[in-house]
Symmetry: C3
Subunit: 437 residues, 3 copies
Amino acid sequence: MNPTEFPTGSSMFSFLEEIWPYCRSITGNGVRSTLQAIKQHLPDLRIHEFPSGSSALDWTIPDEWNISRASVSTLSGEVLIDVAANNLHIVGYSVPFNGIVSRVELLEHIHTLKDQPDVIPYVTSYYKKRWGFCVPHRDLVRFSDEYYHVQIDSRLEPGSLSIGEWVLPGTSSREILFSTYCCHPSMANDQLSGIGLAVFLACWLREQPERRYTYRFLFLPEMIGSATYLEHHREWLKEKVIAAFNLTCVGDEHTWSYLPSRSGGTLSDKAVQHLLDFYTQESQHYTWNDRGSDESMFCAPGIDIPMVSLMRSKYGTFDAYHTSADRLGETVTAKGLQESFDMYLRLLTALDQNGYPITKILGEPQLGKRGLYPDLSIKGSTDGVKQLLNVLSYCDGQHDLFDIGNKARVNVEEVLALMELFVKHDLVEICDEPSKK
Amino acid sequence: MNPTEFPTGSSMFSFLEEIWPYCRSITGNGVRSTLQAIKQHLPDLRIHEFPSGSSALDWTIPDEWNISRASVSTLSGEVLIDVAANNLHIVGYSVPFNGIVSRVELLEHIHTLKDQPDVIPYVTSYYKKRWGFCVPHRDLVRFSDEYYHVQIDSRLEPGSLSIGEWVLPGTSSREILFSTYCCHPSMANDQLSGIGLAVFLACWLREQPERRYTYRFLFLPEMIGSATYLEHHREWLKEKVIAAFNLTCVGDEHTWSYLPSRSGGTLSDKAVQHLLDFYTQESQHYTWNDRGSDESMFCAPGIDIPMVSLMRSKYGTFDAYHTSADRLGETVTAKGLQESFDMYLRLLTALDQNGYPITKILGEPQLGKRGLYPDLSIKGSTDGVKQLLNVLSYCDGQHDLFDIGNKARVNVEEVLALMELFVKHDLVEICDEPSKK
Amino acid sequence: MNPTEFPTGSSMFSFLEEIWPYCRSITGNGVRSTLQAIKQHLPDLRIHEFPSGSSALDWTIPDEWNISRASVSTLSGEVLIDVAANNLHIVGYSVPFNGIVSRVELLEHIHTLKDQPDVIPYVTSYYKKRWGFCVPHRDLVRFSDEYYHVQIDSRLEPGSLSIGEWVLPGTSSREILFSTYCCHPSMANDQLSGIGLAVFLACWLREQPERRYTYRFLFLPEMIGSATYLEHHREWLKEKVIAAFNLTCVGDEHTWSYLPSRSGGTLSDKAVQHLLDFYTQESQHYTWNDRGSDESMFCAPGIDIPMVSLMRSKYGTFDAYHTSADRLGETVTAKGLQESFDMYLRLLTALDQNGYPITKILGEPQLGKRGLYPDLSIKGSTDGVKQLLNVLSYCDGQHDLFDIGNKARVNVEEVLALMELFVKHDLVEICDEPSKK
């Protein structure tokens, strides 16, 4: 499996434009449309439906929510809010309503962000029945009439929660897991970017001639979706998954961010820390306390899937987060998507070929007879082979490729290239597990 | 067990004024009077007497020393030193003497501190027989006569060493140990403050409706007293004591100080480090090399009781230390005593309720249905529950309350309050021991 | 075993002057002459010969190389290069040649260092057959004729590789190993200094009345020599050697340098780190990645002898390295040699007496009755015994002398002196192994 030229930045961006308008929530047709769009790229995507009322760990799958249209108008017919214009205008899971309300009553149902008066906030009320609209704070001045006509054509009734799952088997039954959520309406970095990256990484993997591990991609509603999936598959995952990643906020061009697993120190943590150390100028390392997504389920005590997040700007830290300003072309760019794709390819490639190299030769090998060492020794002549010798010296069956890179101060791609050379010269063999001391 | 308003600063101070004048040493009636005064507050205090000549680990209990009066006068009858004025004037364990001595001979028996010419130093000679007096260095000029009358009415003869012990049983046989020494004459911070804090902590504990651990308070002569106690009880202590504290120098208002156990890393160390981290602006962390009190016995190799000291100004570091300047109202204040009491209450309360919480629910629980989570989600709406979720996420049976506080960056009292909430909602149970992995 | 006045700096320097002119290489009579000179000091030095063609781990012992003379002259008879003047002039392992060559052809065989135009570089070609000369870069101007007479009277034919070995048995079968290489021609710090230090340390050891460990000194050609020795003795060494040192670059007066073992954390590493911490103002700590000598063989995966280097200026870091400027009196001084000798004596002495002291007395002992504690207690009177008490408090059977010194902040010689006192007073016994907890 080798990284190739894979024109993804702009393709990903186009795909995100396609799924942008769907009015997603934790259940309903917005999610299904999104999964269908993913299926265009990944035809063997399986879509699982879990009925309302089913248990999902400590949670219960709520009724399914769908909305066809919603608006607020003056009594003279002027439309002041129309969800068709931006699906952030409606509070997620708003119950149906149709009637005339006073200004005072309406304002109790309208949500704004005073600190960011130009943007529509993203608001939901999944588990308490209410209706509401969201508008930019500065638009409140437009609500000067005494009465308004509110129309919300939504349905909240038994249905099901949808999860997309795509699995690519490897030669090993051990797995690398990618999870991304698909329940947010039209927001770019904190929604679409993760889906786009997941889809294109899956496509790239499928095109590779071989791979060691099984790759599992989950597209699920945040929290309730991971609880639902874990309700059924946690034992399996705990046994099989060696590394897991929550794909989110991977579309901008800012400093890389890392959110560790709950315990820290897993292979996922080690791999991501290595990448940030060797491939970025600077990066932001958060703690588990800063988390805010599906790792809360996957890493919970007793579940303990080794999930980390390698992001650009972490959710919650950028102004546009959870507002209408989180928009394609602004928070997310084709360049940002391409960079994330490239970084994750490095990660995948290294993880898939990771192992514990062990030398087959006692003592430092004579590299000269293998053409790997200068035949004339003069001051400085061996500077060029020091890195090779350092990497080789850590091939003791106790260090994996990331450990070796860290100790020899060499990035994992160079370690991989050297391993190929070493294997070719029969200098090392690479074991799946650390050797017994 | 909850901290309550417990008017202690001024009560402690008054108690210390009461026991100030007793002429304490490692044996004798000064100690007994002190223990009797303690018994007024703790009627079931047991007073153990160990006869002179008995073994105390590597030590032997010396003869008992008592003194009724001692003075130095001119031959014309002018009293130049009178121990009645300050019992620091006499070298502890001075042998009886009555006679006329020359100026030269007298000065060989007079001790001063050149660097602190205004104070009387604290001097003892427990194991070598001699007599002596202590005066401020600047008073030496008063000794201009040729001859002096020295009178020391002391007795040094077989008797016993006294140790006070007060035990409050808990539901567990495991113990928390407090030790304080009672062998120094009239000095405030490096003597009385520890006794006062011990007595009032014991009183407070006795008034609590329940407690988990057994609490043992020892009032003993420094070093020889702890050796004596350990001679008889070390196996028991080693088996039962989970945390131990040497109470000394807890009466001033300066920066908190911490002296670790010999090995470090015990529960006592962890608890004190947490308190200093979360409840003080700054603190002074000493090493085991800086010790100077009973921990030398309790933490010695093979004994290894986990004893630490949480002090204000550490002994040996303040000018007044071991001099007549270590005086009530100067080095020790009611406010300082109250602050120490409050800090130790936190410590006691947290230790008594400490344990290893483990979640009873797989995955992040749905807090909304328990009324612990906002029912409307908008940017920032869950900031207030992040701390709760962080604390909950570490309830994996591997972390105790201090660990959880350290990881979630929450002080242990807030952790305790959350545990109460979690237990009430049946979210966690708190185990005595870490769970098996 | 105690360090004594041992006049070594100037004796070592004289010895190095004696062996300076031998034209050493990895085989041949230059090495043998050097070993014979060593044998003058260590009559029971054993000299092992390993025939050309023998296996040495991954290597094969090459043909033996000897050279009687070599020169380049003009056709008119002016000698431009004569190896008799400096044996760095000839490329090591140059094949025989006798003939007239053009200027162009000659220059292809001449090596210089452009960046250091005044010095002759040290060049070898052990495994590729070629001939060549080395000159200062600025001397190239002297080669203005069209043709030259080249004469190299060398022999490259089956023979043997020579290794010197000197063993001093101790009461324990466990060993401390010193290795130094003897294959470089006339260079002072990066060749002779290591040999000199090894010889004189061995002499000193032989004069001591007793020692615990067996001491093994190896004088071998770098890399191929250690591979040869390990081919035959690696199992033995791995079982017996508790600490190992590669002696090189120990003749100058600059900052001390430390190159760790591959794994780090061995007794060799701990001892050297302690010495640098307590006996030097500053020191340079390198990593395993910076290595460049026999530790590459001795510490290789699967061999894992705990070898470190304690040097002055590390090879490769000083300008004169591997050039004719690495000269006695310039890079190496009698004072530098003496300082290295003194430092290694400390190391040897501490290692030989190292162990895990354990107190024979429960609790802090009464030092007063042993005359080790002041009999009068006054502020400051016990300052002088704090160090003694600290050292004693770590005698718990878990810390060796270096650990104790590190924790008590006392250098290992003072720890040793205290141990002698403790043993005399029957306070501790010193065990070979840590005690079971």
